[in-house]
């Protein structure tokens, strides 16, 4: 069965085509979802892509989270559908309250485009713990922040998905490119079906272009999509 992955296109999305290309490269079918659509097409997973929705004006994700498509994504997530937010997608998920915390200006204030390593945490189906993934980041506002209580809850409930690390998997401030609290690069929601991350896995799947640390992320997305599709009531045969 070919999995169908919806990629929401907001005005200002930049890496939407890139996410769709990655989905196709890995054997899925990519479907563009327009931000004004209040209803998702029949899909098994959703990606909120990177970019600068609404120019990042006011705050990253602040305007996009009101899009009709986001209401549909919220419902999709509530029903257990897997949702992956990449970079601006992560920022939108936080703004929408689907993930805790927020992303603010990088500690160094400058935009950073660079290959980094991140270490996986929070083992689950399709997501082994302790893998070190080479992936690129490219953002100006990727510093993850949350109140101390919120951070405690995030750690306590093991919601961290990715932390910045050395190529050996050592987590240390030296490898933290933006000042994120606890070196957090990616987060799960409590149910484990929504994943937000600042790095760009869609730019790390094609060996012609560089390392392929992004494959792990899509493996999870596809595993979760398969499980979700399997559990969903099938349309009655006509």
């Amino acid at each position: 069965m070919t999995l169908r992955v919806g990629v929401v296109v907001f005005p200002g999305s930049n890496d939407d085509r890139d996410a769709m290309r990655a989905v196709r490269l890995l054997g899925g079918e990519a479907v563009a979802v327009w931000h004004r659509d209040g209803k998702l097409p029949e899909v098994d997973a959703v990606i909120l892509p990177g970019g600068f929705s609404y120019g990042d004006y006011l705050r990253t994700g602040a305007i996009a989270r009101f899009a009709p498509a986001m209401a549909a994504v919220r419902a999709f997530a509530a029903a257990g559908g897997p949702v992956l937010g990449i970079c601006n997608g992560f920022q939108i998920l936080c703004e929408a309250g689907l993930l805790p915390g927020a992303l603010i200006r990088n500690r160094g204030l400058a935009f950073v485009c660079r290959w980094v390593h991140v270490r996986t945490e929070g083992a689950r189906e399709g997501w082994p713990e302790g893998e070190v993934l080479p992936v690129p980041i490219k953002h100006g506002e990727g510093q993850f922040v949350a109140t101390p209580e919120e951070l405690e809850r995030i750690e306590g409930e093991r919601l961290v998905a990715l932390r910045y690390s050395s190529s050996e998997g050592l987590v240390d401030e030296r490898y933290n490119p933006n000042g994120s609290a606890h070196g957090i690069a990616g987060l799960w929601n409590a149910a484990g079906n929504v994943l937000g991350m600042m790095p760009h896995p869609e730019h790390a799947v094609d060996p012609d272009l560089g390392p392929t640390g992004g494959l792990q992320v899509f493996e999870w997305l596809f595993a979760a999509a398969r499980a979700f599709a399997g559990a969903r009531p099938q349309p009655a045969p006509v």
Binding site: P11, G12, N14, D18, G50, G55, P136, K138
Partner: protein, 739 residues
């Protein structure tokens, strides 16, 4: 005192005012005069440069669109066209670096968009004054932030550029930007499509009082203390609106809804409408009341010359207008019919129910004045050129000289700059910034574009003819080094005040050098930009022609990279080294002088090297390749080592040259390569067959850069010096190299 006549206040000379009246057969009204002033400004009319630019080779088998359009285009085969152009945004950036640079990116992107192409890459050649001056740091920081803000937001990868320094760029930073786009060759939008009756649709942002008189005041008058006074005409870029324009325009083109498209840049609507009409041999009707305004009470002349950003003018068949508007509405953009093309050649402008201007469209465009300004070779040059740095005594310590050159900011890594740019978006970046040429694959194929921008101001100063020729040769060499075939050239010519005969002489020489090199290397010039008046406080920029080269690589999987990939590889120097330190990085950094003659350029040898490098890549004979430029052999070897994290041991061939000359000579037409294991003989044979000298220098490996019998440096130190120089300077601390 009597008030200055209006035409002079607007920047027209008395003679030009007479010409305007002659073209009209009557005195112009103030609105018309403003239109002429904007269109006949140096920036829009190229009146001082036209006669020289006409000598450039612009034709070739692959050229689809040459100069004269918003951007040039070459055929890539497989039905694809590459559209590309370079432009300067130096003057606005000197006044407000963030917005100046940002709007520069926006402008060049719209130029490429206007030809019906999707922008796929940006490159940004940058030149500043020395970084020990806080104002220069402020300018560099601001320009980089501005380029990032715009380029990153619109989703076009910034994949290359230059970062150079010279005192002359302190008061006159030189900010160029190149955009490259791809289009279906059969969908290219020249200014030939469409005809009488087609409508003019203004798409994008509302028109405000941005840059009113900006063209003539900001760009065509020498920048000086009174630039303070021109501050309110700074334009603020809206990258989000720019992104929407990119998406809307590419969709309009894909759907085949447009007959033509023009960017609104210098001289705003006046330029876009008059050129749209004149190039088709037509006239037009323009209704200013239909133009969406951002501010109340704008005068017709303001609406006509406003340079508000994020606007384009489309030529649309009447029946297709609703579909055009529908696409624009989807992207949240306004699209308003503001006029119509008509027979007869007259541009008639209406506002408030009356005709406010009526002029022949061609009088504004093709019939603008052209000057053959006086040229004079500056005699001081003779003395400076006689002072040959190769005749100076050798440095006290070669090692110190090496570290000083490697850590000089014009040689050291530009990572501090390019990490602030998204180089990956669009997912086709095979090689991003930090290499000889950037490589962007053509989606769905193994073919790729290779892109490089190059210019050397010191060479331009010492010998503008060679400065022009070297810029082309180096850009082509960079493209050939990765394994690509150079196809065509765009350029930006950065000079001082053209009314000064020495400046004009240098300009003419540079253009001659550029043209000769392009003719010889078979890379026609498809477009470019001239930036004059880069002088203030009595000092002009070096004559700086900057070249943007587009090449094609047939299989990007076989490209050559700079980095030494592993140890135990034989290192070769290709090409001949002569005692050429004139205008070199070494002379500037170690001897503190910019003097002598730039390296000679044998274009025949250059072309042979390019063919060799290409065959080395295609035949998978080499494991790495890097051309030699600033800093010569020593720097090139260090860059290969730093990039790969692999040291080397070499013995520098003496051939009668003192070691420091052999290490730092900037003789042209050279490269360092490593042979694939077991392919050494093939490499030597191939080099011989192309009549390119190839000397085996040594071997890769180990944790040190070892120049046998001379000195050695730990690789880790070299990395600190090379990578640390610019960040240290930008933080206001002294560089590691001088510690």
């Amino acid at each position: 005192m009597r008030a200055e006549p209006l035409h002079r206040a607007l920047g027209l000379t008395d003679e030009e005012a007479v010409q305007v009246e002659r073209r009209l057969g009557r005195p112009p009204n103030p609105t018309e005069l403003a239109m002429f002033a904007a269109m006949w400004s140096e920036h829009c009319s190229y009146k001082s440069s036209k006669v020289h630019l006409a000598t450039l080779p612009t034709r070739g088998p692959g050229v689809l669109l040459g100069p004269g359009e918003d951007a040039g285009a070459v055929d890539l085969g497989d039905g694809l066209a590459c559209v590309f152009k370079m432009e300067s945004h130096s003057h606005p950036s000197a006044i407000e670096p963030v917005q100046g640079a940002a709007t520069g990116v926006g402008g060049i992107v719209r130029d490429v968009l206007s030809m019906g192409a999707r922008p796929v890459a940006l490159l940004d050649p940058l030149r500043f004054g020395p970084l020990d001056n806080p104002r220069n740091r402020y300018l560099l920081g601001g320009v980089v932030a501005g380029i990032g803000q715009y380029g990153n937001s619109i989703g076009v990868p910034t994949v290359g550029g230059e970062l150079k320094f010279a005192s002359c760029h302190g008061p006159n930073p030189t900010i160029n930007v190149m955009c490259v786009g791809l289009a279906r060759a059969d969908r290219l939008l020249g200014s030939r499509g469409g005809g009488p009756g087609d409508l003019l649709v203004l798409i994008g942002a509302a028109t405000g009082r941005d840059g009113i008189g900006g063209v003539s005041v900001l760009a065509s008058r020498t920048l000086d203390a009174d630039a303070q006074g021109s501050r309110p005409s700074v334009q603020v870029g809206d990258p989000f609106a720019g992104k929407l324009l990119v998406e809307a325009c590419t969709e309009l083109v894909e759907r085949g809804l447009l007959e033509g498209l023009k960017d609104l840049g210098g001289a705003g609507l006046t330029c876009a409408v008059s050129e749209s009409a004149a190039r088709r041999g037509l006239g037009a009707e323009l209704h200013l009341d239909e133009v969406p305004l951002r501010e109340p009470g704008m005068e017709p002349f303001e609406v006509l010359t406003s340079e508000s950003q994020e606007r384009v003018l489309a030529v649309v068949r009447p029946e297709l207008v609703p579909r055009v508007q529908e696409v624009c509405e989807r992207w949240g953009l306004s699209a308003r019919v503001v006029g119509k093309l008509r027979r007869g050649g007259t541009l008639r402008v209406r506002a408030g129910g009356r005709v406010v201007a009526e002029v022949p469209a061609r009088a504004l465009t093709d019939e603008a004045p052209a000057y053959r300004r006086p040229l004079e070779r500056p005699h001081v040059l003779d003395r400076i050129r006689e002072d040959d740095p190769a005749a100076a005594p050798p440095p006290r310590s070669l090692e110190e000289a090496f570290l000083a050159v490697l850590g000089s900011p014009g040689v050291a890594s530009a990572r501090w700059v390019f990490e602030q740019f998204d180089s990956l978006v669009q997912g086709n970046t095979v090689v991003g910034p930090g290499a000889d040429a950037a490589v962007i694959r053509l989606e769905g194929s193994v073919r790729a574009l290779a892109l490089s921008t190059d210019g050397n101001g010191r060479y331009g100063f010492l010998d503008p003819y060679l400065g022009g020729a070297h810029a082309v040769a180096e850009a082509a060499r960079n493209v050939a080094t990765v394994g690509a075939r150079p196809l065509a050239v765009t350029n930006c010519l950065n000079f001082g005040n053209p009314e000064r005969p020495e400046v004009m002489w240098a300009f003419a020489e540079a253009v001659r050098g550029l043209g000769d090199a392009c003719r010889f290397l078979g890379t026609p010039v498809t477009g470019g930009n001239v930036s004059f008046y880069n002088e203030s406080e009595g000092s002009a920029v070096y004559p700086t022609p900057v070249v943007g080269m587009v090449g094609v690589i047939e299989d990007y999987r076989l490209l050559s990279r700079t980095a030494f990939p592993s140890g135990n590889l034989a290192i070769y120097l290709l090409g001949e080294t002569r005692p050429e330190l004139g205008g070199s990085q070494y002379a500037e950094v170690v001897l503190g002088k910019v003097s002598g003659r730039p390296p000679a350029l044998d274009l025949e040898a250059e072309a042979r090297l390019h063919r060799l490098l290409r065959e080395c890549a295609a035949g998978d004979v080499v494991a790495s390749a890097h051309d030699l430029s600033d800093g010569g052999l020593a720097v090139a070897l260090a860059e290969c080592a730093v990039a790969g994290g692999v040291g080397f041991t070499v013995s520098v061939p003496d051939r009668g040259l003192p070691p420091h000359v052999a290490l730092f000579s900037e003789s042209a037409s050279r490269a360092v390569v490593t042979a694939r294991p077991g392919r050494e003989a093939d490499l030597e044979e191939l080099a011989a067959s192309h009549r390119v000298p190839a000397v085996r220098l040594g071997i890769t490996g180990g944790p040190r850069l070892r120049f046998e019998g001379l000195f050695e440096v730990p690789l880790s130190d070299a990395i600190v010096v090379y990578e640390g120089a610019v960040p240290a300077l930008m933080s206001g601390r002294p560089a590691a190299a001088s510690a």
